[in-house]
């Protein structure tokens, strides 16, 4: 199976481990990722709030390239995904129907066929690992853009984590905002919002927060030291990509390379569970 792949800027930079784990897992599953040739910025960081036509143009160019490829486009970053889906809606209003589907990486992975494949290849079930799944704002919302049916309480990631053998704990904050878009301008708000997420995840009994967005990951991963100082309490919750978790359970040899890049290194926790 071959699909188009749009890594976006984050996966080439801060979220390299997301890119690498995605490619590694895809290879294991027999999925060929064809990186979109000559892709450009998706417009998520600033274009879409400053210049409508620029924002639309950036998206349109990427989609036009993808249309030429004619394969489903898999997008690992929630912000890119949101921009593309918004672009798709706008095109539909203009009566242009794309000849491929835009899928978030999560959507792509939880497809029945791939889930079966993953299930059949598990070498090390993540038994005993308690997690909450965190979707953030853009992966399922706004439903008008994403078309998600269960946007208040999405469950795909939980299903995936369950399949890997982990315990996916239900909690109420799956789609709460982490403050990602205020990362630079209002760090105080970001700290308040992320701290709430940590507290609620811990209350629910989680040891790991699973994510499928590079912005959520970096925001949650990198703030813990600051917040710990502020709160006088030690926050040490690994924030792991779903692809890293799949890689771990399929016994991929490179997991250590990915985990090493995290601010909160998950290896100690995983080792205590006999998973690393």
């Amino acid at each position: 199976m071959k699909v188009s792949y749009y890594p976006g800027c984050a996966l080439h930079g801060t979220a390299r481990e997301y890119d690498e784990s995605t490619r590694a897992v895809s290879a294991l599953l027999g999925v060929e990722l064809g990186e979109l040739p000559d892709w450009n910025c998706c417009g998520a960081s600033s274009a879409h709030v400053t210049d409508d036509s620029l924002a639309q143009g950036l998206v349109a160019r990427n989609l036009a390239i993808a249309e030429k490829e004619g394969r489903d486009l898999v997008v690992p970053c929630a912000a890119c995904y949101s921009r593309f889906k918004a672009g798709e809606r706008e095109m539909e209003e203009g009566a242009h129907k794309l000849n491929f589907r835009i899928l978030s990486l999560l959507e792509f992975l939880v497809d029945d066929g791939l889930m079966d494949r993953i299930h059949g290849m598990i070498k090390q079930p993540l038994v005993g690992l308690k997690m909450v799944s965190y979707y953030g704002c853009l992966l399922v919302r706004p439903p008008k853009v994403t078309g998600a049916k269960k946007y208040e309480n999405p469950e795909e990631m939980d299903r995936l984590l369950g399949l890997l053998g982990a315990e996916a704990i239900p909690w109420s904050y799956k789609t709460d905002c982490c403050g990602g878009s205020l990362v630079l301008s209002r760090a105080d708000i970001v700290r308040r919002l992320t701290r709430k997420l940590f507290d609620k995840a811990l209350e629910a009994g989680a040891e790991v927060i699973a994510v499928a967005c590079p912005l959520c990951q970096s925001n949650l991963d990198s703030r813990q030291e600051e917040i710990s100082r502020e709160a006088g309490k030690n926050y040490q919750i690994p924030i792991l990509y779903i692809t890293e978790l799949i890689g771990l359970s399929l016994g991929h040899p490179d997991t250590g390379k990915w985990f090493r890049r995290h601010f909160v290194d998950p290896r100690k926790l995983l080792a205590s569970k006999g998973l690393y």
């Binding site: 029945d112 269960k150 309480n153 239900p170 209350e203 009994g205």
Partner: protein, 1487 residues
């Protein structure tokens, strides 16, 4: 066109029942169609009703009974309408009657079927908060009082089984621990449970829906588990069945097929002989399957269970010639010899010494004479039989190699068998084919030459064809070769001349549906017809052959009739995911069956599979999804003593001819799954309001204790979230009832548990109905219910406590987060999927929301003439409005049929009553067992004996079910034979059954009052189940009391009075005119009295409706129709001066014409309708009357329809709501003003878009579909600003302008307007009716509106029969509501006017004039104002008006009043018995 005097009502809720009763009571035959198994609808589910907090069930229960028992109401239960053809007056309706599987006429509601039903489903009535059985009664008081069976279809497991095993059924029984029953269910369809529990190829499991979620159920292991449990006990031999038929049947072959057929035929009464060639029975089971898979003891046990029944089994008895059997007189023969001959591959060396065939090898081992084998054995083939050979050889201590020409994937053996064989050391070589067996010089095998194969294209079997790889030949040395490449039948005894055809595959030729061979009377089944198959197929074929032989011997058509069609409940992966998402199923892997370790296995022939332990079996059984719901386990069938269960019922279509149709199908509660943000279905402590209603109900899942689901604790803080599924983007209407029911639930919760602190989060409180605002105020002040005006956007859960967090904006504008123990979602009303279907089938249009489309000026008519609507299907509304509409719809439906009134009704004829007055009491006592309900606790024969021993009792008997139809005949016969003149039934409650028995004795010629009942069930056996002795003793006492009473009862005369077929309507406004016209159109005379000179009332001041309909035109038409109607007499300018009489016979005096020239008129009439209306208040505040720029809404409406120029000049208009309403003086809401203000504002905006319009309100009460007008108004730019009661607007004159200043709590600041016009939404007040009320002796509320008999169920009746009310006289209401109510009053009136005579109950109070002191006590206490002091100066009670409540009799200080049938003597006689009983008890204690 011929008109038909029958009406169909669809929907058995409170609306449907009311319409049905009104119609049936006014001379029409009614068909009441209900889709569920009981009538009662939503109201039956409610706990209490607002604003009176009456028990909902108590109020509705008498209606249920009346509807259920009505002679002219035919209940079509479990039914839906498919098609409506014809036209108004003459319709033909096609009704789909769904099977209920229980005969309503035979079932008496004892509930024993539910007690034995093993299938658990979430209770629908309790909204999934408790469980019920597949055999269920919707609720204890359900009418009809009969159970029903919920069956969704055939479970896929059963469908997949060749023999139709009811796997779901026995799994459910295993879960219940009822192993004997489970075995019985298996044996219904399969005489070999233990065998199939071991070696079946379980197609059921492949079909199991559970496989879509995790893994299929381990059905085979569960089946085996049951037999393991039951077979622990030594076998008890079965009684033989005596044959009752002559025709003998011969069966050749005692394998599973032959024995199954033998069992079936013996049970049908045929003498059966089974001929078996081998020395043992069981066929392949016994000599083919190895011991380690199927122990011989089990086979013998199951065969013994068959031979016990009387099968003549002849072992060692091969049949040589078919003709011999005919000669011996067998009328039918079944050939079931199986396929026992192994097949030798046609390769060189195949007949060398040391080459064995599979079946003889296995047979010899099984019969205890194993062949001599060398060291190394090669098995050729990889089917199940090959595995049996290989593993048997392993157990004989040999080295075993299996060679198979295809790959592992194509091997036909069960993969588990292959795995087990490997574990036991069998070596497998796939893609390896023998080409030659190599022998030594003595002709003994010494090896096999094999060739390697590869897979080519697929062959006809779908498997890839193996192709030899050239040059790959090699020799494998060995001592033995066992061929296991197939089996075939031995057909030597069937020569061509026998007339039985044989196929090329060496099987017998049979017709597939009948299993008949070419020779008449000879049948064949099993492997001999199909080649080697599985046991379960042999069993299935055995059944089929037996059924075919049965038909053949009875000379019937040989082809079987097709079975009733039931859908197979096959789920899709998507549906399963949905169910999982809703939390209905959870991923739970299959429980693994333990096996003997491989090392131990190979040492013996002990069974490999160890089977389930109890715990494992329970856990596995609990995984069953119960796909079909009812599993047809037949537990109920065997239990029911009345023969009411019939699992073969099928759906059928029925045509019903009617004249008109009323739709009252009700609604669904909004599914809060669609509002994911509130977590319903996800968080255990978030309930919907109907669930909470069940929690509050004494008959609900917590018996009325306020408990939260997660931990059963009393929730201290409860939040109610309003408008869930209402007033949102998908539901742009208000559900009209939620504010009040939330208030009620908050109050009741607090009444149940003092510590509860309810908070209601709301947008507007819409307490617009009669008495609602007072209720709301009481909730706040007396019950401390906290109201917070904020729409909540989500609920989150604290995972540790499962408490719920809600964020809201408080009054100070601060965001607050608050924790609650329980959240109740006030879910709205939505049209159900079935109502949409109904609309399509009936052919009516729906509105944008999916409710029936109606017009405000004809609110009861649908878009199809002759089809009417009422209740929530017409738009969201509460119970009284539904009831009023229902009566109104009944009036509309009967109006077009008035000329055929009475043509289709049944009147019952009775034999003449026997004169028993002078006779000595001869009492008959019938003690009921009620199945086990009474008989299981009370010693019924002892009670009967005891009763027989008491004086005056001449006959006593006991019945299994006294209420059953045949017992009624028994009762009548006993009355005749024993000349009984009093009858006592000791059974259940008179509430449900007294009328039935009274009817029976009346049919036997006894006066119906000569009956007495002793309630030994509800009040004895049910409450003393654990003390049988004392319960029996109490039952005796209850019977003795009844006898004491019965000795004194007297026959009572039921009086009849004539009816004057004329109605008086008081008030000539919209309601009065509509009512008068209605009466006239129904064919009765009407007299309309109006105090003013002109008809029309308030309607004269209204110009349009909110949706722009011309009211003036409507009034003009209506007035013309009324004044010109030949049966209507109008008296304008008239007042009532005197009123007397009773229902059917009233007399009213009028003074017509004022100014002294008035004349007196006297009118005789049968009924009275009060429609005196009301008027708009003249405000005393806000400069009204002082400044001409200050108007009321009605004045504004006149202005809007008058001076166009002035309207165009307006720049700013302000309206103030609630002027004179919702204050201390008038604590009620005037209901109409919000909509009136919006209407005028919109009209103004349309005329002058530039004008600014501001409406100052407290709550915008735009209930129901008015919500959309509210939205429309906001979209039109009309400003809605809220003020608070504590800060009313201040209106002053400043600089020659009107100035309005008020505090707005949203902005938290004062705002000032200087409008050109200030419009006051002034209160609606009742007309001055003090004098009229006292003449009519009917009550009024403190606000001056008339008070109906019952707030919920009798909204247009007065307590005094024959007097009705409608319109604003009842309370403020809008045009469509008045129209509905006026029609309702007509329908209620018709129930009287349609009768020629009124029957008066014998149970009435009578006055002994000699004892009466005229103290007025009775006059004061009578709730119906019946007693009067007559001209002789003593109390007089008109029998026709008396309700028989007995209050006067018990209050009368002079004992001058007695209530017939409940006289002091009778009551004292009963009390004497109690006192005697008590003294007996005391005596015992002293001893």
């Amino acid at each position: 066109m011929e008109k038909i005097g029958a009406v169909m009502v669809i929907g058995g809720g409170v609306g449907g029942m009311q319409a049905a009763l009104d119609l049936a009571n006014s001379g029409f035959k009614v068909y009441l169609v209900e889709e569920s198994s009981a009538i009662g609808g939503r109201m039956a589910q409610l706990d209490k009703t607002f604003p009176t907090n009456d028990c909902s069930m108590c109020t509705i229960s008498p209606k249920l009974v009346e509807t259920g028992r009505h002679l002219n109401i035919e209940l079509l239960m479990d039914s839906e309408v498919v098609k409506v053809e014809g036209e108004a007056g003459n319709f033909t309706v096609t009704v789909r009657r769904k099977p209920r599987y229980i005969d309503v006429n035979k079932c008496n509601g004892c509930g024993e079927c539910a007690q034995v039903c093993p299938v658990i489903i979430p209770s629908r009535f309790d909204q999934s908060m408790s469980q019920e059985r597949a055999a269920y009664r919707l609720y204890p008081q359900a009418v009809p009082n009969a159970y029903a069976i919920e069956k969704r279809g055939i479970a896929p497991c059963r469908d997949a089984c060749p023999s139709g095993q009811r796997a779901q059924g026995y799994i459910a029984l295993i879960r219940e621990g009822r192993y004997e029953d489970a075995l019985r269910v298996i044996k219904e369809d399969n005489p070999f449970p233990a065998i199939c529990g071991r070696i079946c190829n379980h197609r059921c499991e492949d079909a199991c829906n559970r496989g879509l979620l995790d893994q299929p159920m381990d059905i085979r292991a569960l089946k085996r588990f049951v037999t393991d449990k039951v077979y622990l006990q030594p076998r008890v031999p079965l009684d033989p069945i005596q044959p009752n038929r002559e025709q003998r049947v011969a069966i050749i072959g005692a394998g599973p097929c032959g024995l199954t057929a033998a069992r079936d035929l013996v049970r049908l009464g045929f003498p059966v002989t089974v001929f078996e060639a081998l020395p043992v029975a069981g066929g392949m089971l016994r000599v083919g399957v190895p011991e380690y898979r199927l122990p011989a003891a089990i086979i013998e046990r199951e065969i013994a269970d068959i031979t016990d029944l009387g099968v003549d089994l002849r072992l060692n008895n091969p049949v040589i010639n078919l003709d011999d059997l005919s000669a011996q007189g067998y009328k039918a023969v079944l050939i079931a010899v199986g396929a026992h001959e192994g097949i030798r591959l046609p390769i060189p060396g195949a007949d060398l010494d040391g080459v064995l065939l599979n079946t003889p090898f296995l047979r010899d081992v099984r019969l205890g004479r194993p062949p001599e084998l060398g060291k190394k054995v090669v098995v050729i083939g990889a089917g199940d039989v090959a595995m049996d050979c290989a593993r048997t050889a392993v157990r004989l201590g040999k080295e075993v190699h299996v060679h198979y020409r295809r790959s592992r994937a194509e091997a036909t053996a069960d993969p588990m068998e292959i795995q087990h064989a490997e574990e036991e050391g069998v070596a497998f070589q796939f893609l390896s084919n023998p080409v030659e067996i190599i022998g030594d010089d003595r002709g003994r095998v010494q090896g096999v030459r094999l060739i390697r194969m590869e897979l080519g294209e697929a062959d006809e079997s779908g498997r890839r064809r193996p192709i030899p790889i050239s040059g790959s030949e090699h020799i494998v040395p060995c001592d033995q070769v066992i061929f296991s490449v197939g089996q075939q039948a031995g057909l030597a005894f069937i020569p061509e001349s026998s007339g039985v055809g044989v196929t090329r595959e060496m099987t017998l030729k049979v017709s597939p549906r009948t299993l008949a061979t070419d020779r008449p009377g000879v049948f064949a089944a099993g492997d001999v017809t199909s080649g080697t198959a599985y046991v379960i197929e042999a069993v299935a074929q055995g059944h089929k052959a037996a059924a075919s032989i049965h038909r053949y011997l009875e000379g019937r058509e040989l082809e079987p009739e097709p079975p009733p069609e039931l859908p197979v409940v096959k789920l899709t992966g998507e549906e399963m995911k949905e169910r999982a998402a809703r939390g209905e199923v959870r991923v739970t892997p299959r429980v693994r069956v333990q096996t003997l370790p491989a090392g131990e296995r190979i040492r013996s022939f002990d069974e490999v599979s160890l089977g389930f332990t109890d715990e494992e079996a329970q856990a596995e059984a609990a995984r069953c999804l119960a796909c079909g719901v009812c599993s047809e386990c037949l537990s109920c069938f065997y239990k029911c003593g009345l023969g009411a269960i019939d699992h073969d019922m099928v759906e059928r279509l029925e045509e019903v001819r009617i004249g008109s149709l009323i739709l009252a199908p009700g609604y669904d509660v909004y599914s809060a799954h669609s509002s994911q943000e509130f977590g319903w279905g996800r968080y255990p402590n978030v309930l919907n309001a109907l669930q909470f209603e069940r929690i509050l109900s004494a008959s609900g899942p917590t018996l009325g204790h306020v408990q939260r689901p997660s931990d059963g604790k009393v929730p201290k803080k409860i939040a109610f979230l309003q408008c869930v599924g209402s007033r949102d983007q998908n539901h742009p209407y208000c559900s009209a009832v939620c504010c009040m029911y939330a208030t009620k639930e908050a109050i009741i919760a607090r009444e149940h548990e003092k510590e509860v602190e309810p908070t209601i989060f709301f947008i507007d409180i819409r307490a617009y109905g009669k008495g609602f605002d007072a209720y709301y105020e009481r909730a706040k002040k007396e019950y401390g219910v906290r109201y917070v005006r904020c729409a909540i956007s989500r609920v989150v859960e604290d995972p540790r406590t499962q408490n719920l967090l809600i964020t809201y904006l408080d009054e100070g504008g601060e965001i607050r987060e608050e924790e609650f123990d329980l959240v109740v979602l006030s879910v709205g009303m939505v049209p159900s999927a079935s109502t949409k279907e109904l609309a399509k089938n009936v052919g009516i249009e729906l509105d944008a929301y999916g409710f029936a489309k109606t017009d405000p000026l004809t609110p009861l008519a649908t878009t199809r003439p002759g089809v009417y609507v009422c209740g929530v299907f017409q738009g969201p509304k509460d119970i009284p409005e539904t009831v009023a509409q229902a009566s109104g719809a009944a009036a509309a439906a009967s109006e077009i049929l008035s000329e055929v009134r009475g043509t289709l009704v049944t009147r019952k004829e009775y034999p003449a009553q026997k004169e028993v007055q002078e006779e000595e009491p001869r009492i008959g006592v019938f003690v009921c067992r009620c199945g086990n309900n009474i008989g299981g606790v009370i010693d019924v024969p002892a009670v009967k004996e005891y009763a027989a021993s008491l004086g005056a009792v001449v006959f006593a008997d006991e019945n299994l079910y006294t209420c059953s139809q045949d017992t009624q005949e028994k009762l009548k016969k006993a009355i005749e034979e024993h000349k009984l003149n009093r009858v006592i039934v000791a059974s259940c409650s008179p509430r449900t059954h007294e009328p039935l028995f009274q009817e029976t004795i009346r049919e036997a010629g006894l006066n119906r009052y000569l009956f007495e009942m002793a309630n030994i069930r509800d009040q004895c056996s049910w409450v003393h189940t654990h003390d049988k002795e004392k319960a029996t003793s109490k039952a005796k006492d209850l019977v003795r009391m009844a006898i004491a009473d019965a000795r004194l009862i007297r026959p009572l005369e039921e009086l009849t009075k004539g009816v004057i077929k004329r109605g008086l309507v008081i008030g000539g406004g919209l309601s009065g005119m509509t009512a008068a016209l209605g009466l006239a159109e129904q064919g009765f005379e009407a007299v309309l009295v109006e105090k003013e000179n002109e008809l029309g009332g308030n309607l004269r001041r209204l110009k349009t409706t909110l949706d722009g309909k011309d009211v003036s035109r409507y009034l003009e038409d209506l007035t013309a129709r009324v004044t010109h109607h030949p049966r209507i007499q109008v008296f304008p300018d008239a007042v009532i001066t005197d009123f007397s009489g009773y229902v059917g016979n009233y007399k009213t005096a009028l003074k017509v014409g004022s100014d002294g020239k008035g004349k007196e008129v006297e009118i005789e009439h049968g009924i009275t309708i009060v429609a005196t209306g009301g008027e708009e208040l003249k405000p005393k505040e806000y400069l009204y009357g002082q400044d001409k720029r200050v108007l009321t809404q009605l004045e504004m409406e006149a202005l809007l329809h008058g001076d166009g120029e002035k309207i165009g000049e307006l720049k700013e208009v302000v309206m103030i709501q609630c002027v004179g309403s919702r204050n201390e003086e008038r604590p009620y809401c005037s209901r109409v003003c919000c909509a009136e203000a919006v209407k005028n504002a919109l009209t103004l905006k349309a005329l002058n878009p530039k004008a600014g319009v501001t409406i100052l309100y407290r709550d915008m009460r735009m209930y129901g579909t008015l919500e959309e007008d509210y939205t429309r108004a906001r979209k039109a730019g009309i400003r809605f600003l809220r003020y608070e009661e504590e800060h009313k607007p201040e209106v002053t004159q400043k600089d020659g302008r009107v100035q309005v200043t008020f505090y707005n709590p949203v902005l938290r600041e004062n705002l000032t307007f200087r409008p050109d016009l200030l419009v006051l939404s002034a209160a609606t007040i009742a007309a001055d009716t003090a004098e009229l009320a006292s003449m009519l002796k009917v009550p009024r509320t403190a606000d001056g509106f008339f008070l109906e008999a019952h707030m919920k169920l009798r909204p247009v009746d007065f307590a005094s029969e024959g007097i009705y009310l409608c319109g604003i006289a009842h309370s403020p209401k809008r045009i469509d509501e008045s129209l509905s109510q006026a029609a309702a009053a007509v329908a209620r009136a018709c129930t009287v006017l349609a009768k020629d005579q009124i029957q008066i109950s014998g149970v009435v109070s009578v006055v002994d004039a000699d004892k009466c002191a005229a103290c007025l006590t009775c006059v004061r206490v009578c709730p119906y104002n019946v007693p009067v002091i007559n001209k002789e100066g003593v109390a007089e009670i008109e029998a026709a008006m008396c309700h028989g409540c007995g209050i006067c009799a018990s209050e009368c200080p002079g004992k001058a009043i007695k209530l017939q049938h409940f006289t002091d003597e009778q009551v004292m006689a009963k009390c004497d018995v109690i006192v005697e009983v008590l003294s007996d008890v005391f005596k015992e204690e002293r001893v």
